[in-house]
Symmetry: D2
Subunit: 152 residues, 4 copies
């Protein structure tokens, strides 16, 4: 699939949106790469992010799967659009036992209204990468809407 962004400053737009997400700061997520139809996010291990066995919590893994897809989709949308997740499905394949989570998402189909993405989340332990989770997601493009904080 040839995928071309609709305006030149899409990377800047994605980075600014990512920075507005306070929850990314809370979990110390880093936006590593953004390409047309692709996004990569890393989260280093912290004992704050764990479930009962001391591994990355499924909620953190899901957050990474969702956010990489959101920005992979966002990279292909129009300049004055914002993005929302409609729904996603995730399989938790291996325990999040390691020092780093790596999320990667690719756009499978970029439609006029809906975009479908596949996200994979890897867990790195002692330098070895292993598939931790796989997700399939549906995002919606909201045209002529702001990505910024809404005044309440």
């Amino acid at each position: 699939m040839k995928i071309k962004p609709k305006f030149t400053t899409y990377k800047k737009k994605v980075r600014e949106s990512f920075e507005r997400q306070n929850f990314m700061k809370l979990i110390d997520a880093k936006l590593i790469d953004i390409q047309p139809g692709y996004c990569e996010i890393h989260v280093p291990y912290s004992s704050n992010l764990t479930q009962q066995h001391g591994f990355f919590h499924a909620g953190v893994i899901s957050t990474v799967a969702d956010n990489t897809a959101g920005y992979a989709a966002f990279s292909l949308m129009e300049e004055h659009s914002s993005v929302l997740t409609v729904e996603f499905k995730i399989n938790l394949i291996s325990p999040g036992d390691g020092e780093l989570l790596i999320g990667k998402s690719n756009v499978l189909k970029n439609g006029r209204t809906l975009t479908i993405c596949n996200s994979e989340v890897y867990i790195v332990k002692d330098g070895n990468e292993k598939l931790c989770a796989a997700a399939q997601l549906t995002l919606i493009e909201l045209k002529n809407s702001t990505d910024k904080k809404l005044i309440k």
Copy 2:
């Protein structure tokens, strides 16, 4: 469906497991209620938990949907079992715009190995409750395994 717990101290077991999840402390989640096949978790609004519009992040909403299901399922499992999420699917129905997230999960089917749950997450704004997300989840019971932190 008549659902009976398999041992008397299931509530204590769920509470202790919840307390071992550091990620619950990080997002300030509170275990409000646990019944056989039912769990309720609340998360008050904090600007730490937001996405780009200043609303609850989808990752927080998904975490609540997943964790309520995990403990609803856990409440029906055997005394020496632990629980893992196999997979889930969530629809984000309304923006997480409000002062409190309320997650409620019910067991739909408690099988020998797999348990199926439905979770609903509500957003409360100015005291009014609204459906924010709905999820369907598959959990697996790991018999004779510990719920505690694994020594590495």
Copy 3:
């Protein structure tokens, strides 16, 4: 949720659409009930519809879950809209071992563009009804489009 159809002849529109689906005839599906935001479809057992154990095939069960949701959603759409399934997730909870499949779907949220439904499929054996599958589905409303056969 108070749900009101947008025009008076919605039942007729649903029935005519159902009759245009040849696949419903092939599997002998019957449209039993249509209400605003609700649809019920039955499929009697036939050895044509079976998987390797002689039970209803998961494909038939999924078809029923999908089609009931499609028409539950369609009943709330505008007069000149058509409906498509965006995606669905289904848990196959009990084997389809019985003489009749009963699908029931309810609209959970009827948005401007997207509608979310929950479908339940029951299997009836010796007159006893049992939950066979549960699904959560996303449908899209295509405004000013035809539901009829497209000339190729």
Copy 4:
């Protein structure tokens, strides 16, 4: 992922199981290829298989996605196991408008109890192949159980 079948006659076992599924005959599905962790099924167009616009019904598309995954998973299981679909999620990406449906499924993770697969269904029109649907599925291995028709 290196995937090795657990016994030499796995292809024969899959073909015999496929032939026991009467629903495959009804929709004229053909088992085209079976490899360790991979399955391909084709369904030629027939007006019997259509929805209201005259395209392949979503139920047929889902059946293909499910069945390819079932046999991709089955190819890696033990000789005396049978397979059941636990759940699946499918995105319907393009209308099933064409002369042939091609389903392909790959095993993503083959665990002791659960196997996760990704299925893609393509629609062929005038010889051109297009992605029609993508699914993610969870299958369960039932050890020491028969794949044959159960005597009632």
